[in-house]
């Protein structure tokens, strides 16, 4: 076996299989595409009743310990659920909340019990991570001053409009810290919503200046937890994109099988057929990488192999969805260019996905160091 190819662990557990079935059925029944569309221009971006059902199914606590009310199935069990949500293009705060939970869990452990318990019960939380547009930066620019107040603002905070709790990444005297901030502590004008390219998503810029956090977490564990957060975030973004890519492929294939031009189904033209095969192969690759990463994390945590796997997953899925969304528009012709065509949703999701937690170039650069040096 090639050592550069390295670890090729790939498992699919009973739990994952069950969760995938349940989540797929849920998305099919509760969130068909017209209901997703109905939320595009609402403030929250999702249907509260649907979200409540997801909470009731226990999805916010899948990877949290039983001691805080989670089901302790491990992070790998989140993967099929996010894949299914991606397939439905369902924008909910599940990803942001899950990642906020993981960051707190990994940085703070037991001290975070009440916050984690709240998340398991469905409280929406999110990480305020980016200082600006650069995923590769330190992003610890917000500082804690001598009065114990935060100074500075954060950009692109996911699900900010609906979150009750923010985990703010910052620093004190140059050392990274996490500050837990309640929504109530923010004034109304602290939060400026973004107009996002993907209308199923929500984010905002938040000025945390002068806000006193509920809690501050510092120390070695924060550094390690932030590394985990970036990798787990990249993985979940990849997983969600994989689901979306599979759906995008279905949409393309359906159209190629129904639309006729020059007296023939357009799917018989190789100029459409062969790129569609490449989309299919790219979707399969992304899926392999995602479940591979999940398998390694399950076995040995966020090892170097897991880092490689998460980065490959994001690179693969990010590029795949850009390709699929782009071709989805083109392969639908004029109708593909309309607001009402679903190809619109995919090309917009693709542009959102490709950047989140670092684009393909960001990850390939880091993979180069992992693999070549």
């Amino acid at each position: 076996m090639s050592s550069l190819v390295g670890n090729v662990a790939l498992n699919f557990s009973e739990e994952q299989s069950m969760l995938l079935d349940v989540a797929r059925a849920f998305v099919r029944d509760k969130a068909p595409i017209d209901r997703v569309r109905a939320q595009l221009e609402t403030e929250a971006g999702y249907d509260q009743a649907v979200w409540q059902e997801m909470v009731d199914l226990g999805w916010t606590g899948i990877a949290l310990p039983e001691s805080v009310g989670g089901s302790a199935l491990g992070f790998s069990a989140v993967v099929p659920v996010i894949e299914a949500l991606g397939h439905g293009l369902l924008g909910t705060p599940l990803m942001d909340t899950t990642l906020a939970g993981q960051l707190l869990l990994r940085a703070g452990g037991a001290a975070q019990e009440s916050a984690l318990a709240a998340i398991a019960e469905g409280e929406i939380a999110t990480v305020a991570f980016l200082d600006g547009a650069d995923w590769g930066a330190d992003n610890t620019g917000v500082s804690l001053d001598d009065q114990g107040c935060l100074q500075g603002s954060k950009s692109f905070v996911g699900s900010a409009q609906v979150a009750s709790r923010f985990v703010v990444v910052g620093n004190q005297g140059g050392e990274p810290l996490l500050a837990v901030v309640a929504r109530d502590a923010l004034s109304d004008d602290a939060l400026v919503a973004n107009t996002l390219i993907d209308l199923t998503k929500r984010s905002a810029r938040i000025d945390f200046s002068g806000v006193k956090p509920e809690q501050v977490i510092t120390g070695e564990a924060v550094v390690a937890a932030l590394r985990d957060y970036r990798l787990l975030g990249a993985l979940l973004a990849a997983v969600e994109a994989t689901g979306a890519g599979a759906r995008c492929l279905e949409v393309i294939v359906d159209y190629l099988k129904t639309r006729k031009q020059f007296g023939k189904l357009i799917g018989s033209y190789q100029a459409l057929k062969h790129p569609t095969v490449d989309i299919y192969c790219a979707v399969e690759d992304s899926r392999s990488f995602c479940y591979h990463a999940a398998s390694i994390i399950e076995e040995g945590g966020l090892s170097a192999d897991a880092e490689t796997a998460c980065r490959m997953a994001k690179t693969s899925a990010g590029d795949m969805l850009v390709f699929a969304g782009d071709r989805a528009v083109q392969f639908h012709g004029g109708i593909g260019f309309t607001w009402d065509c679903d190809s619109t949703l995919f090309i917009r999701r693709a542009q959102w996905t490709q950047q989140v937690f670092g684009d393909a170039i960001h990850h390939r650069k880091r993979l180069a160091s992992l693999l070549l040096d």
Partner: protein
């Protein structure tokens, strides 16, 4: 899998020791990179003798039944041997068309007589097989082949020509796809499949030189060649069905091959290790950001292919397109290999311009030759474009 890990591990130790003792030193002449380029008697004799030695040790076709020269073992054992052959950089098992396609085909649909007659000599290397499918005017459109087979008593009389016939000049037998009924309404129904002898009057093989400069394939002319009627497989008109089954083995969609060690293993590690000595802008090649980016892309593809192989065994992760991964593995694998070898060729600075035969060519022009050679894989066995059609139609359900 019925075989315990421990038993396989023990077997691996045994095989590894055997390889150490028995893998021959590289001969003074160049060996082919795959079975497609066996072009000289010297190469042939060397490879035949090596295959015979491996088979005599019990390490070839291990999962084929004992009565036909195999060991009746679990396929996992052959997997161990194949990995060790690769790891030891051992010469290839050259009789690939026999070992990889004809053998499993006969095991699946051959008669008792056919199995008894042919299988053991395939393994021992005594009898070489070639494949007479493609014709000058009909390649991808295989169903349209025109070589005629006309029944005459106990014989069929063959007229026509096959081309790109790998090892046709050395072969003892050919799997021959010929037209027995030119009037059949569907072109496919007029075809029949023969296990045709080659060393008979009226059969002439003329070697053709390749882009690599080497030989290995031929044009084969049939001029009133008479073959026994008993060499017909199944019955007249069933040729297409048998040919399609053969292609499943050839394309690796079906398992059962006597070995998978039919080409010099060229892995992504070889590529990266090999190129480390080159410089660009006065610095090591792999410090160049753009080169790094391309290298990572190639490594990722290698990993994706390896993961696909694993995933095929996880039904829960393949249920959306059950045949998708097997049917796309040739499409993906051969094209990735082409790009990787092209990269190896192109990253040598001015040395990229040298070829085999030049004393200064890097590793004797290894990557240049490997890149060219690889077209045998992307064209042979159904071209990449034809594979894409197959995936589109059979996996995604797109119209013809």
């Amino acid at each position: 899998m019925s075989e315990s890990k421990a038993a396989l591990k023990e077997f691996q130790t045994e095989v590894r020791a055997w390889m150490k003792e028995n893998v021959p030193a590289p001969p003074p002449f160049l060996l082919p990179l795959s079975f497609l380029e066996v072009g000289t008697e010297q190469q042939l004799d060397f490879l035949r003798e090596w295959q015979h030695r491996v088979w005599s040790a019990g390490y070839l076709g291990m999962h084929w039944p004992k009565e036909y020269g195999g060991q009746g073992a679990d396929p996992a054992y052959q997997g161990v041997v194949d990995r060790e052959l690769g790891a030891a950089n051992a010469p290839i098992m050259f009789n690939t068309i026999g070992l990889g396609w004809v053998g499993p085909l006969l095991l699946e649909m051959g008669t008792e007589d056919e199995k008894a007659k042919y299988l053991k000599a395939i393994l021992s290397g005594e009898e070489i097989w070639c494949q007479g499918f493609s014709e000058p005017d009909h390649g991808s459109d295989l169903g349209a082949v025109q070589t005629r087979a006309v029944r005459d008593g106990d014989e069929y009389v063959i007229n026509g020509s096959k081309i790109w016939t790998t090892m046709g000049n050395y072969a003892d037998h050919m799997i021959l796809l010929a037209r027995t009924d030119p009037t059949a309404e569907r072109k496919y129904d007029g075809l029949s499949f023969f296990l045709s002898p080659m060393k008979i009057p009226g059969v002439d093989a003329v070697p053709i030189r390749k882009v690599t400069g080497e030989y290995g394939f031929n044009q084969v002319f049939f001029t009133d060649a008479r073959i026994p009627a008993s060499t017909l497989m199944l019955e007249e008109g069933k040729g297409w069905q048998v040919a399609m089954k053969t292609l499943e083995y050839e394309r690796g969609v079906q398992a059962g091959q006597g070995t998978s060690h039919w080409a010099v293993s060229i892995q992504i590690d070889d590529l990266i290790d090999d190129l480390r000595g080159f410089e660009r802008d006065g610095e090591p090649l792999f410090q160049d950001p753009s080169v790094r980016d391309q290298a990572v892309t190639l490594i990722m593809e290698a990993k994706a292919l390896a993961l696909s192989q694993r995933r095929m065994r996880l039904s829960g992760l393949t249920s959306d397109f059950p045949m998708g991964l097997p049917l796309s593995s040739k499409y993906r694998g051969t094209e990735w290999a082409r790009r990787m070898k092209l990269f190896g060729t192109a990253m040598q600075g001015a040395s990229s311009s040298l070829y085999m035969g030049d004393g200064d060519a890097y590793r004797g022009g290894f990557w240049q030759r490997a890149y060219f050679s690889n077209f045998g894989m992307t064209i042979g066995g159904g071209t990449t474009q034809v594979q894409a059609n197959i995936i589109a139609e059979h996996v995604l359900g797109l119209p013809k």
